[in-house]
Amino acid sequence: MTAVVEEDVSLVRDAWRRLRANRLAVVGLCYIVLLVVVAVAGPWISPYDFLSQDVTMRSAPPSLVHWMGTDQLGRDVLSRVIYGARTALIVAVVVTGISLAIGIVLGAIAGYVGGRLDAFIMWLTDVTMSVPSLLLVIVINTSLKPPLQRWLDELFLATKNPIFRDTMWLDFVLVFGAMTLILWPPYARLVRGQILSIRNRNYVTAARALGLPARTIVRRYIVLNAIGPVIVAVSAGLGAAMVLESAFSFLGIGVTLPTPSWGNMISDGLRVWRNAPHLLAAPAIVLGLATIAFSFLGDGLNDALNPRQKHR
């Protein structure tokens, strides 16, 4: 039995070693870690309050006082970019997490149970993946927000509980909801595919023949072998979720003014980029780098976990 345990550990260590060797992936990882740190530490490290306006210093270019300059209302751009990082990461993590959870559950059911249920779930993924996602999200947002808003307000007036009044999180919830609705199918299909292919592999049959309990089989063989592609998908998914969120806030859905998000900062910046290019450059560059970082990381993870390539 110890032999099997060793195998587990060295698999992970092996993958990690390969990942570390990939310079691009490491760079990507570092940038992402930086983003996470900045996002978490946001309120403490921001030089200014991201909402406060200094009417005397509007559209100021980057300087020692304001490292990334100020916007048309006199707000510090750096502080807003930092807050935007929080928004981006929260949305990306939560959305990917929920989609993943839904995907795993549905994919596992489809893979294990098979038959009609499998066909139905696959049909559902088909349909969901066919709808133009942007359109669906816009429609969801414009339709559901007013009644939800109303309901929340009634709750507030009834209970006087401030939680219901601060409706910024309603934006988040709607964005999350709409995005998970679009993003869960790929995870479900992936998980289902993995389960189907692994279930019939020789070592699983052997383990079953040996009489190992199902729980152990799942944990030791299926999860470990299936998890590779899932990790890669999650990494790509996080990047995609981030970009999607910026697209939405660019269009004016989801995170709304005055809450900063890289997307709505880009949209503002686009209007004045000829007079004040720093307003566009800051969020666009940060977002672009984040996307690239996730790509590098994803590719690196793929290489590390699926070592089929050999150098010539």
């Binding site: 349909v127 066919s130 669906l136």
Partner: protein, 318 residues
């Protein structure tokens, strides 16, 4: 084969119906009364007349219960009547018929361009794996894919306007062979090219070390023939499967590109109708988008076994 296609097309019906139902319900219950909205949006000096609003609503059949309205919508759809726009009163199919060819041509051109650009690049990168050419190509592909299309579009556009000689605004639609289409196509291709370059590269790398390639090389065949004859098929496979994803990214990217470059396509129509809460148009555009994606998935599924005979058996296990 025919049975396969027929079965797939049959499945479209409940799929589209489900999509229709969801979007219709959302618009109906959430977005609010479009007629009232038209009046409410009118500027302050326009009179507000309850009786008139009611009269218009009744005329548009908006005072019936949800199921009745949905049923009559579907019924009309089956007879070819897509309804009339709530804003302009024009038949929806006409608006769609004007916008669809624009988006269609753009989409087709993008796919062709992407294939022509991305596959060779991906192959070159793979053949030079970990060499300078590889890093440059990969880096460029990643960078290009990371910039959101809605950033590049306006910047490129305005730069061009200011730098080029007079008489040259790359704005508006003049047909697919008009020079003004270059910039929007470029921007539309960015994301798909980025994906396909990387996919092709990965596929070629994977295949390059496969047994049958080594056999071919051992036989002494020239490299070029090795590449062309043996690698092309497995290389094209992931590309074709990516087609579905490309379609989706096209549909989303089209929205931004059409808005910025003034192309009167479906993307622009979609945004305009959501802003106006013009639900017959919203429904129609969603349906078409979904149908397009389903169609491309079908094409992919049909093409797959042609490209990779090994996949034939595994078709049901997608």
């Amino acid at each position: 084969m025919l049975l396969f296609v027929a079965r797939r097309v049959l499945v479209w019906i409940p799929s589209l119906l489900l999509i229709l139902f969801v979007v219709y319900a959302l618009a109906f219950y959430g977005a609010g009364d479009p007629i009232k909205l038209i009046f409410l949006k009118a500027p302050g000096d326009v009179a507000y007349n309850e009786a008139r609003i009611e009269a218009v609503r009744e005329a548009a059949g908006l005072d019936r219960p949800f199921i009745a309205q949905f049923a009559s919508y579907v019924g009309n759809l089956l007879q070819g009547d897509w309804g009339n726009s709530l804003i302009t009163g024009q038949p929806v199919w006409r608006t769609i018929a004007a916008a669809a060819p624009v988006s269609g041509q753009l989409g087709l051109a993008t796919i062709i361009l992407t294939t022509l650009i991305a596959i060779p690049l991906g192959v070159i990168a793979a053949l030079n794996q970990n060499g300078k050419l590889d890093y440059i190509t990969l880096g460029a592909a990643l960078a290009v894919g990371a910039i959101p299309p809605y950033v590049v579009g306006p910047i490129l556009m305005v730069s061009l306007i200011l730098l080029l000689p007079p008489g040259s605004i790359p704005y508006g639609w003049g047909g697919i062979f008009d020079v003004r289409v270059i910039l929007p196509l470029l921007v539309l291709c960015m994301a798909p090219v980025s994906i396909i370059v990387r996919q092709t590269r990965a596929a070629v790398i994977e295949v390059m070390n496969d047994d049958f390639i080594r056999t071919a090389r051992a036989k002494g065949l020239p490299e070029r023939i090795v590449v062309l004859r043996h690698m092309m098929r497995p290389v094209l496979t992931p590309v074709v499967t990516q087609l579905g994803i490309i379609m989706i990214s096209l549909v989303n990217g089209a929205i931004f590109v059409e808005l910025v470059f003034g192309l009167p396509g479906l993307g622009r129509l979609a945004v305009q109708s959501t802003v106006d809460n013009d639900y017959p148009v919203i429904l129609a555009v969603t349906l078409i988008g979904a149908a397009l994606v389903m169609l491309s998935n079908l094409v992919v599924d049909l093409a797959y076994p042609l490209l990779d005979p090994r996949a034939h058996a595994a078709r049901s296990d997608r």
